[in-house]
């Protein structure tokens, strides 16, 4: 048997083993199997391999703690709830102009502007015209259209009318808090002195970010043993 027909036989063996041969070819191959004990031995090797590989892989699933699957289900449920909330938020009908005005009136900015305007009006009434810079301020305040004033508010949404309230979307984003989460202050100076670091056998590094909170320390872990010049790729 020359080399290429031997290789063809091997390929046919695999295809036969995997049920990929048509009926006529499969029948023909069966007689080859019966006539060549070495071929039959290789067939049995394939059976052995399938048996041990199948059992090995199945046993991996059997060994997983049920709690890990429960964790996956918890994450799945949270994902569905989040999707449902976002869908609900987007499905809300657009707010009318009166709705927007009403929503704006409820914001602190509107109260501040209104309060300043009211105070200026009182001063004007009591003191009279030409009282000073307040006139200009009042004019400036009253001239400012609502969206610009709103832009001064650091937490303002770009398009608040898409959601009934800004917090609605935030709720959709935030995870379920296990306990009552108390208010935590914003970070201030983040300067840290790292005294000990143990990467537990992985590679890692310490780096720093200079920003508005001072210098923030970042401790990086590299869980995979990937080298920069790795030749490994799929």
């Amino acid at each position: 048997m020359n080399r290429s027909s031997q290789e063809q036989l091997e390929h046919d063996l695999h295809a036969y083993f995997d049920g990929e041969l048509d009926d006529a070819t499969a029948t023909q191959f069966e007689s080859e199997l019966a006539e060549h004990p070495a071929l039959k031995a290789r067939f049995e090797d394939l059976q052995f391999l399938r048996s041990v590989v199948g059992k090995t892989l199945e046993s991996a699933g059997e060994q997983v703690d049920a709690a890990r699957f429960e964790q996956a289900w918890d994450a799945f449920d949270a994902h569905l709830d989040r999707e449902a909330r976002l869908k609900h938020a987007v499905a809300e009908p657009p707010v009318s102009i009166w709705g927007r005005v009403s929503a704006f009136i409820k914001t602190p900015v509107a109260w501040g502007v209104g309060g300043a305007a009211a105070a200026a009006a009182v001063v004007f009434l009591v003191v009279g015209p030409g009282a000073g810079p307040s006139n200009t301020q009042m004019a400036d305040a009253s001239d400012q259209p609502a969206p610009n004033a709103k832009a001064d508010e650091p937490e303002a949404d770009a398009a608040p009318s898409l959601a009934p309230s800004p917090t609605h979307v935030a709720d959709a984003e935030s995870p379920k808090a296990p306990d009552a989460m108390t208010e935590f202050p914003l970070p201030e100076a983040n300067n840290a002195d790292v005294e000990i670091v143990d990467f537990a056998g992985h590679s890692g590094r310490i780096s720093h970010i200079d920003g508005k909170h001072g210098t923030t320390t970042v401790i990086w872990v590299q869980e995979d043993d990937e080298s920069v010049d790795s030749e490994r790729s799929l």
Partner: protein, 154 residues
């Protein structure tokens, strides 16, 4: 004279009270660990619930990551030299221990464990009160986890 003595006594008493309360605060801290998933696809927006670390997440350090999602957050009440450990929703656990307080600085030990409770990191550092450290690079889903650890005196 009597009034002066009463005043001096009051000041001393207040000072003693103050010292006592400071001593009590030195013994404990409160920390928050926020778990963030950073992924390489997205539009680069930092969601509102992560605004407190926006400047860090948008720095060059994390330039490769285009979306950030808050996965979990856990609060820790730490007493001196007492280990506390909590499990995050991904299965990772974080252990924290307060090692001491000196002036405005807290000294903390933080350990990160995989879902199989294999230790991935242990570190001890001193940090300003309310300061924040980021622990990054832990594989999860198709992204990396970042733990923001922030502590303040209690």
């Amino acid at each position: 004279m009597k009034t002066k003595n009463i005043l001096l006594s009051a000041v001393a008493f207040a000072g003693a009270l103050g010292t006592a309360s400071v001593a009590k605060a030195d013994d404990s801290a409160q920390c928050r660990v926020t778990q963030v998933l950073a992924k390489k696809d997205g539009d680069g927006t930092v969601p509102r619930n992560l605004k407190f670390i926006e400047s860090e997440l948008t720095s060059d350090q994390f330039a490769a990551y285009k979306s950030f999602e808050l996965l979990d957050a856990k609060d820790y009440k730490l007493d001196l030299n007492v280990d506390k450990k909590q499990r995050m929703k991904t299965g990772h656990s974080l252990g924290l221990k307060l090692l001491g307080v000196t002036g405005s600085k807290l000294k903390v030990n933080v350990s990160v464990f995989s879902a199989k409770q294999k230790q991935l990191l242990s570190t001890a550092y001193s940090i300003e009160n309310k300061g924040l450290v980021l622990l990054a690079g832990y594989k999860h889903a198709d992204g990396k986890l970042i733990f923001a650890v922030q502590c303040q005196k209690r």
